[in-house]
């Protein structure tokens, strides 16, 4: 038995290694990217979102009219070569307003999600890492916030702060905090049990370093997925608040606002509501498709 063992120990270690092709180092992120590229739906979603980002960025160059330039003579005209998406009740070009509305929606989505992600992750990490009464306190606050229908809570917050686009954004960020918070908390708790965290401790690392360099990076996958999905939700919520008159105010070309302003013309001039509605739907669909694709790519275990 001894001799057999000896042979086996020597064989794979020593001896000239065959010249091998250099193995490329594949980071887990790179692998997730490959996975994502294979997912057709996610690519379609990505294209939709990129399209909206592009038109938002190039707004001044692709529009032929001004945002609030009214033309009373052309009230409620249907789509034509002059007005691609028609005009609304005060003769404003709907295409132009949709394009500038894309800017607003994307900005609202971005800042609401960033804010919610930042504060939610912070609270989630604190709750998950310190545990005990800190966790108890934070988790119960999250539970209370989640007990309200989210749009109701948003309405309450906007009612308190006063209706404006900025306050709508703040409200949307706040109502999304517990969603990120709970996600991060549960992830932190499960990562803390991982053996590589114990191994890092055994190397004498400070817990703050372990938290920032090992726990947090390993928790990012679900945060990214939730952020992408949350982007769509935030745009939808902004539109809902705008529709209710609690978000963007009158001349602002916000999609939800445009819908509510035009809703009495839904039968006589359907294009006035069709295009804003379609835009909201497309953008949200795009983000959801990317989000689902990312989830499949980043967290294969969640696929069922």
């Amino acid at each position: 038995m001894e001799t057999v063992k000896k042979q086996e120990t020597k064989q794979p270690m020593q001896g000239p290694e065959k010249p091998q092709k250099k193995v490329e180092s594949i980071s887990p992120w790179k692998e997730a990217y490959w996975q994502l590229r294979k997912n057709k739906l996610a690519i379609v979603g990505l294209c939709i979102v990129l399209f909206f980002i592009l038109i938002a960025a190039l707004a001044p160059f692709i529009t032929t009219h001004t945002v609030s330039g009214m033309n009373a003579a052309d009230r409620l005209t249907g789509p034509s070569s002059d007005y691609w998406f028609g005009t609304d009740y005060s003769g404003r070009d709907i295409f132009t307003r949709i394009v500038y509305g894309a800017q607003i929606s994307l900005i609202v989505g971005f800042f609401a999600v960033t804010g919610a992600m930042f504060f939610g992750s912070l609270l989630g990490i604190v709750a998950g890492y310190y545990g005990r009464w800190v966790d108890m306190l934070i988790s119960r606050v999250f539970d209370i916030m989640l007990a309200f229908p989210s749009i109701l809570l948003a309405i309450a917050i906007v009612a308190m702060l006063g209706p404006s686009l900025q306050n709508a954004l703040i409200a949307i960020a706040i109502i999304n905090i517990p969603i990120f918070g709970r996600l991060v908390r549960s992830k932190v708790i499960s990562i803390r049990q991982e053996e590589y965290i114990l191994a890092a401790k055994a190397q004498g690392m400070k817990s703050s370093r372990i938290l920032i360099h090992h726990v947090l990076p390993n928790s990012t996958a679900p945060i990214i997925v939730q952020a992408t999905l949350g982007f769509g939700v935030a745009i939808l919520e902004a539109a809902a608040l705008g529709f209710l008159g609690l978000g963007a105010q009158a001349p602002t070309p916000e999609w939800g606002r445009m819908l509510s302003d035009s809703r009495q013309y839904i039968q006589s001039a359907p294009w006035t509501v069709l295009f804003p509605g379609l835009s909201i739907m497309l953008v949200v669909l795009g983000f959801n498709m990317i989000g689902d694709g990312l989830r499949d790519a980043l967290d294969p275990k969640m696929k069922s």
Partner: protein, 339 residues
């Protein structure tokens, strides 16, 4: 003779659970000399791992707590022979010792590396934690360490991710990380359990080599007597949180005294001998803390007698360096000539 590099005296680590206080490690004492390999043997749940985590100061608290005893650490590299009690030192000092002077490797190489970082980075991270090393030097150290632990293509492997390596390779990397700071004591908690037999042999060979070349003392936690025979100089046998027998590896394997050690050795398959069934010690390991009075092995012991259920046996010195916790060898019993 030089004083041992690590000396554990009457260590008591208890866990405070809903069902009361559980003494996972109960008055355990042992010592490791510089350059020595000490085997800690026992079944699952006998307190081996808790003992090693106690030494590292990594007992999760709550619920665990070291309630008594001392862990004396005497670094031998600086000749001052300072003595530190690891139970008492500050958290900050413990962090400096951990990973730098006392390192540890774990059972599961598959999950012991952070999946998001390159191998090289994980080695350097440990080193930079204790020493001021530039990134470039660190990379060289990482490559040297990988070569030391016998990883081929070290220059390429430093830039690979854990998921690109096999279990045996990852355990080598874990050893490289542990050895990168040149520790005085390496605690190996069942380092080969998760690996297949040929890889096991390679890893043991590697650890033996490091022990010989670097003089690192190794505390080898295992339930595998084959590993003990291969690796260790001395052995501590634990049962239900207590040391039941200790001595040098020859004595323990050739002439075990405690009925539990005898049972363990009898349970091993023997070469060239056909047996229809392997021997096994009857019964189960008692839950820690469930036996209040008497010897903890009494219920499973083939040589049990009345006294075993009433009194706690002490460790009895058999001869130089060999001790056994059993009434069979008590001088009082010898007079009655009981077997």
């Amino acid at each position: 003779m030089k004083k041992p590099v690590l000396e554990v005296n009457q260590l008591q680590t208890h866990f405070f659970t809903d069902r009361g206080e559980v003494p996972a490690v109960d008055n355990v004492s042992f010592e490791i000399h510089s350059g020595e390999v000490l085997g800690v043997v026992g079944e699952s749940g006998c307190g081996k791992s808790v003992t090693s985590l106690s030494v590292m100061g990594l007992i999760p608290k709550p619920p665990g707590k070291i309630v008594g005893g001392e862990i004396l650490f005497r670094p031998q590299q600086d000749e001052g022979e300072k003595e530190e009690n690891l139970v008492k030192v500050s958290k900050k000092r413990m962090r400096q010792i951990r990973g730098n002077q006392i390192a540890m490797i774990f059972q599961e190489p598959m999950t012991s590396l952070d999946p998001l970082y390159k191998i090289g980075y994980q080695i350097i991270e440990g080193v930079r934690n204790h020493r001021a090393v530039s990134k470039k030097e660190g990379r060289q150290i990482a490559i040297d360490m990988l070569k030391l632990v016998g990883i081929p293509r070290a220059e390429e492997i430093v830039d690979e991710y854990p998921h690109q390596l096999s279990g045996g390779m990852r355990q080598r990397v874990m050893i490289a990380i542990a050895m990168a700071c040149d520790p005085e004591v390496l605690i190996a908690d069942e380092p080969t359990t998760a690996l297949d037999v040929t890889i096991q042999a390679q890893i043991l060979e590697l650890m033996k080599k490091l022990n010989r070349e670097k003089g690192t003392a190794i505390m080898m936690i295992t339930h595998d007597l084959g590993v003990v025979a291969e690796m260790c100089d001395r052995v501590v046998v634990m049962y239900a949180g207590k040391v039941v027998e200790q001595g040098d590896v020859r004595t323990i394997l050739k002439s075990p005294k405690h009925p539990y050690t005898q049972g363990l050795i009898r349970s091993l398959p023997k070469m060239g001998k056909r047996e229809s069934r392997l021997y096994s010690i009857p019964g189960n390991v008692p839950k820690p803390g469930s036996i209040k009075n008497g010897c903890r092995f009494a219920a499973r012991c083939p040589a049990v007698f009345d006294r075993c259920y009433q009194e706690n046996p002490e460790l009895i010195e058999m001869k130089e360096g060999h001790a056994c916790r059993c009434f069979l060898y008590d001088s009082k019993e010898a007079e009655v000539s009981h077997v």
